[in-house]
């Protein structure tokens, strides 16, 4: 096979791969939104005064972190219909990965909050600032800087975890590659191309995060 024959063979698949990659980014973004909502609720739940809420939050974190993401996806997609809640593969996938990410995000938020010295809050309250002003102006900006590296890692593993959704027929990048390979019998080239596309996306994410981190480090 000459190079031009090789090019002619692969070129028709490029738009399909790009589209599948775009879908990966969309799913990742949606999962991040769900996991942040879940993570905030659970982080606050773990700090709650009410015992039941605290225990429920701890159970959630314990269960999610102690079981494989793939099993969580199967429970949501294959298991819930049995209880009368049938979801499309796409919705089930986003929900399952969001629930999964929420446990990790909750732990990240909790560790960020506990890293802020008590005196930071006290000096703000002592000037007459309200609790919500103190949270918004003094605590959260510092928390964001502290947790940014962990949040980046979490976003990157979310992006990679989207490939698990190939098992429940979401035609994202991994499943798309598999279907192409099933008809072309060229696993090496197509899986290599798939890996490169994932690599481009994860590198992009960490570059953006590094930029933000440099911006946030100006006062250190």
């Amino acid at each position: 096979m000459t190079f031009s024959e090789w090019l002619d063979f692969f070129l028709p698949y490029v738009p399909g791969f790009l589209h599948a990659s775009w879908l990966v980014l969309v799913i990742t973004l949606l999962v991040i939104v769900v996991s942040w909502v879940a993570g905030l609720v659970v982080a606050l739940g773990k700090a709650s005064q009410i015992g039941v809420i605290r225990q429920a939050s701890a159970f959630y974190i314990w269960f999610v972190r102690g079981t494989p993401a793939l099993i969580q996806i199967f429970i949501v997609y294959f298991g819930l219909p049995q209880l009368g809640l049938g979801l499309s593969p796409f919705v089930a996938g986003v929900l399952a990965l969001g629930i999964n990410g929420g446990a990790y995000v909750a732990e990240i938020i909790r560790s960020g909050l506990s890293a802020i010295p008590r005196g930071q809050v006290e000096s703000s309250l002592a000037l007459g600032m309200s609790r919500s002003e103190t949270l918004r102006r003094i605590v959260l900006p510092q928390v964001v800087r502290i947790i940014l590296p962990a949040i980046t890692n979490e976003a990157i593993s979310t992006l990679k975890n989207t490939s698990l959704l190939s098992t429940i027929t979401v035609v994202e990048l991994t499943l798309y590659a598999q279907t192409i390979i099933a008809t072309t019998f060229r696993p090496f080239e197509f899986y290599a191309a798939t890996a490169v596309l994932y690599l481009i996306m994860t590198t992009l994410l960490s570059q953006i995060a590094a930029m933000l981190e440099r911006h946030n480090a100006r006062y250190l």
Binding site: G119, E122, S123, S124, L127, G128, M129, P141
Partner: protein
């Protein structure tokens, strides 16, 4: 800062029978204290005597379990179930008028010096930015750090950070300033600049309560010295009486120990300048 003792008869701050417990441990066992405008009251005592807790009860960073409190138009009864227990809104209004400076400065590291000083006037007093900046600039000028307005706190020495923390409190134009061992975390050579600033505030008539281990400063700058012992006020009087003619055995012991340490550190400083 200017209005001093125009009504010398009425105290600015009046506290009666203040009690505070942490769990089963009673830290303040009935404190009564009146402070007039323009007074500079130094509070001394061993660690654990309750002096810092008392200071933190004055702006209600700690909620007392019992006691009566009058400051300007605020009147509180801290007993559980009392009708005039402070509301959250009252506490914010009270704290806006009482400045507090901490041992560990507690500047906000993600804000510049100027942003630290204008934050509370803008948020709490709803001042326009230009107005808050004008106040902050004159304060930074006064503490000799005008050129640091754009710097982040991590670039400043401990003494500079503490002076900015004092400016941050003064920007709210408080009627009363609380200083909680503000030089204890500083390197010895940086203590002087902070004490000098506090002395100049005292000369201008600022009403001040300061918890301190600097006996010399207490003697020279304060108008009154209070000795805390085991959750009670054991002695209260002119600095020269309390510090030079201590009545109680406990205060004599305390002063011997503190002055001994002071002499020891002075000697060490002279030996290794």
């Amino acid at each position: 800062m200017a209005a001093i003792a125009d009504n010398a008869a009425a105290p600015l701050l009046r506290i009666r029978d203040l009690r505070k417990s942490f769990g089963s441990h009673e830290v303040l066992k009935g404190i009564s204290l009146e402070v007039r405008a323009g007074e500079v009251v130094s509070i001394i005592g061993a660690s654990g005597s309750g002096k810092s807790t008392f200071l933190r009860c004055i702006n209600v960073m700690e909620m007392p379990n019992e006691g009566f409190f009058d400051f300007e138009d605020f009147a509180f009864d801290f007993r559980a179930g009392a009708r005039n227990q402070p509301t959250p809104a009252q506490l914010r209004a009270l704290r806006a008028r009482i400045g507090m400076v901490f041992q560990s400065y507690n500047l906000w590291p993600h804000m510049t010096v100027l942003e630290n000083v204008i934050e509370a006037p803008m948020r709490v007093k709803r001042l326009a930015r230009a107005e808050a900046v004008a106040i902050a600039e004159s304060l930074l000028e006064r503490i000799g750090l005008a050129d640091k307005r754009g710097a982040y706190p991590s670039r400043l020495s401990g003494g500079q950070q503490q002076r900015v923390a004092i400016a941050r409190a003064l920007a709210m134009k408080p009627r009363l300033m609380l200083f909680d061992e503000v030089t204890s975390a500083l390197d010895p050579e940086l203590v002087g600049e902070v004490l000098a600033l506090m002395a100049s505030l005292a000369q201008e008539g600022m009403t001040m309560l300061l918890v301190t281990h600097e006996i010399g400063f207490a003697r020279e700058v304060s108008t009154r010295t209070v000795f805390f012992d085991q959750g009670r006020i054991a002695e209260d009087g002119l600095p020269r009486d309390v510090l030079y003619r201590p009545q109680s055995e406990r205060l004599q012991q305390f002063l011997r120990r503190v002055l001994h340490e002071h002499v020891a550190t002075s000697a060490a400083r002279e030996a290794h300048p």
